[in-house]
C-alpha cells in the first residue's frame, strides 16, 4: 500500500466556458488584438530578484520522515514519463510504458506515473501497451492506476508550421487515443507582439482536441520559457494561454535551455492562483525539463503547496515533465524503506 491518499477529483472542470467567452469574461468588451494587448501589457510586472529570492526561500524547506515518504510517492504520481527522441521506436515506447506501470520492479506498492508523453506517431503504440491501464477521458489519470497518454503536437518543438499542419497533428493524436495534447506556442509571434495570432492558434488547437463524443483531450500549452527570456513575458504568455483555453500551462519542450526553473514555475503558479482568485477555475502547471533529482522535485512540491495550495498536488493540476527524475525518486524511496543508500543497478533503465 502506498502511504498517500487518492487525489480528489477536481470539482470544476477548467473548460466549461469556450475560450473566447472565458477571455471576454475577464477582459470585457471586444476581444480584439488591441484589447488583448492592453490586457496583457497591463498585468503587474514581475521583479526578477524578488521572484528568485522567494523561489530560493521555498527551496530551503526541510522535508523529513513521513513528509518525505509522502512527497516521493506524490512526485511519482505526478510524472509525465517522457521520451521525445528522433530515435524513438515502438520498442522504446513499450519499454517506457512498462516502466510507467511498474516503476520499481522490486516494489509493487510503488505508485504509477500520471502519464507517458510521446510524439504523436507513437500514441497508438503507447495506448496498445497500456491496455486496460489506459485512462478513460482526460480526468482519470492516477485513479485506480490509470495512466494517460500525452502527445506532443503542433510541430513540436519549434512550432514552425502552418496552423493547418498543427491542427492536423493534434487531431491525429487525439484520434489515436491521446488523453492530453502538449502544444507549443508560436514564440516568434509572441515575441513580435502578435498576441492575437498566438491566441487564435491555441483556440484552434483546443478545438482540434475535441473527441467524437464532444469531450476534449486536455490541452497543455508549452510556453518555452527559455525563449521568452523575461519573467514579464512568461507572465503574459501564461495569462494568454489560459485565456485561450489551455487546461495546463507548461514551461518547456525540454529541447531549449534553460528548461523548467523553480522561479519560472513559481511565477506560473502565481498566475494560476490569480486566475483562480478571479474566476474560481483551476488551471494546471507542468514544469518540464531539467528536473532530475528528488531534492529538486520536492522544492517544486513545496512551491505548489505554499503558492496555490495542496489541492493542486493531483495529476489533474500538476505534472513533472521528466524522464531521469523517476529513477532518482525510486532510489530515495528505496533508501527510506531499507535505511540504506541504494545504487543505480537497483532501478531499471527504462
Amino acid at each position: 500500500m502506498t502511504t498517500f491518499e487518492e487525489p480528489a477529483v477536481i470539482v470544476t472542470p477548467p473548460h466549461t466556458l469556450a475560450p473566447a467567452q472565458r477571455a471576454l469574461a475577464l477582459i470585457g468588451g471586444d476581444l480584439t488584438e488591441k484589447s488583448l494587448r492592453l490586457h496583457l501589457e497591463g498585468l503587474s510586472g514581475v521583479d526578477a530578484v524578488g521572484l528568485e529570492a522567494r523561489a530560493s526561500a521555498l527551496g530551503t524547506r526541510s522535508i523529513k520522515n513521513a513528509s518525505k515518504v509522502r512527497a516521493l510517492d506524490t512526485i511519482i504520481g505526478l510524472i509525465d514519463l517522457t521520451t521525445l527522441e528522433g530515435a524513438d521506436t515502438p520498442g522504446k515506447v513499450r519499454s517506457l510504458v512498462a516502466k510507467a506501470l511498474a516503476p520499481d520492479a522490486a516494489d509493487p506498492t510503488t505508485p504509477r506515473v500520471a502519464a507517458v508523453c510521446v510524439y504523436g506517431d507513437m500514441v497508438s503504440e503507447a495506448v496498445r501497451a497500456l491496455g486496460s491501464s489506459h485512462a478513460v477521458g482526460s480526468d482519470s489519470a492516477g485513479l485506480n492506476g490509470a495512466v494517460n497518454v500525452a502527445a506532443v503536437a503542433t510541430a513540436f518543438p519549434s512550432g514552425r508550421a502552418s496552423l493547418a499542419v498543427k491542427v492536423a497533428d493534434t487531431a491525429e493524436a487525439v484520434v489515436a487515443g491521446a488523453n492530453e495534447i502538449d502544444m507549443v506556442i508560436d514564440r516568434g509571434a509572441f515575441l513580435s507582439g502578435r498576441y492575437g495570432l498566438v491566441f487564435d492558434q491555441i483556440v484552434a488547437v483546443k478545438e482540434a482536441c475535441r473527441r467524437a463524443d464532444g469531450s476534449h483531450a486536455h490541452l497543455k500549452v508549452i510556453l518555452e520559457t527559455g525563449e521568452l527570456t523575461t519573467y514579464d513575458n512568461v507572465r503574459r504568455a501564461s495569462w494568454l494561454a489560459i485565456l485561450a483555453g489551455g487546461d495546463f500551462i507548461k514551461t518547456s519542450t525540454g529541447k531549449v535551455a534553460p528548461a523548467a526553473t523553480l522561479p519560472v514555475t513559481l511565477l506560473m503558479l502565481q498566475v494560476v492562483r490569480e486566475w483562480h482568485r478571479l474566476t474560481g477555475e483551476r488551471i494546471g502547471v507542468k514544469p518540464a525539463g531539467g528536473i532530475r533529482t528528488s531534492k529538486d522535485a520536492i522544492k517544486y512540491l513545496v512551491a505548489v503547496a505554499e503558492t496555490v495550495g495542496e489541492e493542486w498536488l493531483t495529476p489533474q493540476l500538476f505534472r513533472f515533465g521528466a524522464s531521469s527524475l523517476l529513477n532518482d525518486v525510486l532510489l530515495q524511496r528505496q533508501k527510506l524503506s531499507t535505511g540504506h543508500y541504494s545504487g543505480a543497478d537497483y532501478v531499471t533503465m527504462d
Binding site: S44, G50, L51, S62, A71, L301, E310
Partner: protein, 495 residues
C-alpha cells in the same frame, strides 16, 4: 496528515557545548562578576540556558581599564595590516563555527534557525571580512591622511540581532584601531560569550575586546564611564535620548541607532507578487523585532482590498513555532516584557477602532508567542500607526497620490527606513528623494550589507554603520584644520 504539515525538522543542538555559567570577558579572560548573576532563558520554552555574570561598577571599571591598557600598549601600536589579520582570523572562525553560533542564537533569542543560519551569522562573518580589509586603508575613509583612532569604545547592543549587532559594532571599531568594551542585551548574552571564546581562539591581544554582561544599569555605567572616548548604542529611542543627554559636554563621539516606524509604500503599479512578499518580509522577519521593520503599510487606495486579500492568503502559510525547526518562519517573542508591550499596543489598536486580523495558528503553551497580526482601517492618529511596536504587527493605511504617500511616510519623529514598490523608475526615484529616511528599499526590503551605510534621520539616531561611513564613525581627522586652504583666513585669524 497533509503534505503541508511538514514533519518536524529540528536543527540538532548537539553541535553546541555550553558551560553552565559564564563570567565576564575582561582582559582576555573570563572572570567572575561582582553583581548578582542571572539566568538567560530560551524564550520559546522558558527553560534556563545558562547562568550569566552581572557586571557592577568595579567590573565595568576593570573592563574599561583593560581596554585602555590594551589600546595604549598593544592595539594602537600594531600596524593596520596586523589589525586586519586579526579581523580576518575572526571572520574565518565565525564561518567555521557558523552552525553552532546559529543554534545558540536561535536558542537564546527565539528567532527561526533559518534566519540565524541564512541571515544573521553569514552577515556577521561578512562584516568582519569587510572591515578587516579596511584596517590598513583608513587613509581612504574620508577623513584625510593619517586619521586617528578615538581610543576606548563603549558599545551597547540590543537583543534583536545579538551577534550581528556585535559585529556591526566591534568590526569597524577594531579596524579603525580602537579597543572595545561591549555590553550585550540582558536577554541575549549567549553568542557574545561564545564570540569571546572565538577571540581567545584567534589569539586577539588581551583587553582589545572586553564583554560585560548585565542589565541596563551595567550599560549605563559603561557609557557614562569617564575614560571612554566613543559611545555606540543600538536600542530604543528613550535610552538613546538618555545617552545623548548624559554624554553631553563630555566630548565622547556618539553613534545612535534607535527606533523606527518605517513606511512601506505600495503603489498600484507595483510588481504585486513581490510586493506581498516584501510586506511579509518587512514586518514578520525576526518576529518584527527589527528597528527598520516596515510596520506602516501605505497602500494606494485603489489596490487596498486586493493587497489585503492577498496578504491574508500569504500569512496563512506562515509557520509559527519552534525556532530550532528549519521550517519555522516566525519564532518566539524575545521576552515576556516585550510580549506584554506587543499585547498592550495591539489592544490599544482595537480600542482605537482598527480592525485586527491574524491567521489561524496554534501557539505553543510554554514560552512567549504572538501570532502575526495585521490591522486595517488604521488612521495616522492611531497609536499603532505612530509608536514602535517592535513585534509582528502591521498597520495598514491608504493614500491616493505619491505626494500624499510621501507626506504620510514622513509624518513621524522617526526616520530610519522606508520601502517603495512600483515598476515606474522615475516615480520610485522621485519618491525616494523625498523620503526622510536613512535607508530606502525600492522593490525590496530588509536588505543589509557590510558595504552599505545604515542609520537614521531625526529621532532614529545619528551616525551610520556599514561602509566607509561606518568606519569614519570610529576615527578622527589627524588635524581638523588640515583642509583649510585659504591663506588669507589664516592671516585674518592671526590678526
Amino acid at each position: 496528515m497533509t503534505f503541508l504539515d511538514y514533519a518536524p525538522a529540528p536543527e540538532s543542538t548537539a553541535i553546541l557545548t555550553l558551560k553552565p555559567s559564564y563570567g565576564l570577558f575582561i582582559g582576555g579572560e573570563f572572570v567572575a562578576g561582582r553583581g548578582s548573576p542571572f539566568q538567560t532563558i530560551s524564550p520559546a520554552t522558558e527553560v534556563p540556558i545558562a547562568e550569566i555574570a552581572s557586571a557592577n561598577a568595579e567590573d565595568v571599571d576593570d573592563a574599561v581599564k583593560a581596554a585602555r591598557l590594551a589600546y595604549e600598549t598593544t592595539w594602537s601600536r600594531l600596524s593596520g595590516a596586523d589589525r586586519g589579520k586579526y579581523l580576518f582570523r575572526i571572520a574565518r572562525l565565525v564561518q567555521e563555527r557558523a552552525r553552532e553560533l546559529a543554534v545558540a542564537e536561535s536558542l537564546d533569542n527565539g528567532k527561526p534557525i533559518k534566519e540565524s543560519r541564512d541571515v544573521d551569522i553569514p552577515l556577521v562573518a561578512a562584516w568582519f571580512f569587510y572591515y578587516a580589509g579596511w584596517a590598513d586603508k583608513i587613509d581612504h575613509a574620508g577623513l584625510g591622511a593619517n586619521p586617528r583612532a578615538l581610543g576606548v569604545a563603549a558599545q551597547v547592543i540590543p537583543w534583536n540581532f545579538p551577534l550581528l549587532m556585535l559585529a556591526w559594532k566591534i568590526a569597524p571599531a577594531l579596524a579603525a584601531g580602537n579597543t572595545v568594551v561591549l555590553k550585550p542585551a540582558e536577554t541575549t548574552p549567549l553568542t557574545a560569550l561564545l564570540f569571546a571564546e572565538i577571540l581567545q581562539q584567534a589569539d586577539l591581544p588581551a583587553g582589545v575586546v572586553n564583554i560585560v554582561t548585565g542589565a541596563g544599569s551595567t550599560g549605563e555605567l559603561l557609557v557614562n564611564h569617564p575614560d571612554v572616548n566613543k559611545v555606540a548604542f543600538t536600542g530604543s529611542t528613550a535610552v538613546g535620548r538618555a545617552i545623548a543627554r548624559s554624554t553631553a559636554g563630555t566630548g565622547k563621539k556618539l553613534t545612535l541607532e534607535l527606533g523606527g516606524k518605517a513606511a512601506n509604500i505600495v503603489f498600484d503599479d507595483a510588481p504585486m507578487e513581490q510586493a506581498i512578499e516584501g510586506i511579509v518580509n518587512g514586518i514578520f522577519f525576526n518576529q518584527g523585532h527589527v528597528c527598520c521593520a516596515g510596520s506602516r503599510l501605505l497602500v494606494q487606495e485603489n489596490v487596498h482590498d486586493e493587497v489585503v486579500e492577498r496578504l491574508k492568503l500569504r500569512l496563512s502559510t506562515l509557520r509559527v513555532g519552534d525556532p530550532l525547526d528549519k521550517n519555522t518562519d516566525v519564532g518566539a517573542i524575545n521576552s515576556r516584557a516585550q510580549l506584554n508591550r506587543i499585547r498592550e499596543l495591539s489592544t490599544v489598536g482595537e480600542d482605537e477602532g482598527a480592525t485586527r486580523w491574524s491567521p489561524e495558528c496554534v501557539l505553543p503553551e510554554k514560552g512567549f508567542w504572538f501570532a502575526p497580526t495585521i490591522f486595517t482601517s488604521v488612521s495616522t492618529s492611531h497609536r499603532i500607526a505612530r509608536e514602535e511596536v517592535f513585534g509582528p504587527v502591521l498597520s495598514i493605511l491608504t493614500f491616493r497620490t505619491p505626494a500624499e504617500a510621501v507626506a504620510k511616510a514622513n509624518n513621524t519623529p522617526y526616520g530610519l527606513s522606508a520601502g517603495i514598490w512600483s515598476d515606474k523608475g522615475s516615480k520610485v526615484l522621485g519618491v525616494a528623494d523625498q523620503l526622510r529616511a536613512g535607508v530606502v528599499w525600492i522593490n525590496c526590503f530588509n536588505q543589509f550589507d557590510p558595504a552599505s551605510p545604515f542609520g537614521g534621520y531625526k529621532e532614529s539616531g545619528y551616525g551610520r554603520e556599514g561602509g566607509r561611513h561606518g568606519l569614519a564613525a570610529y576615527l578622527q581627522a589627524a588635524d581638523t584644520n588640515s583642509v583649510a586652504t585659504i591663506t588669507q583666513i589664516k592671516k585674518a585669524q592671526s590678526k
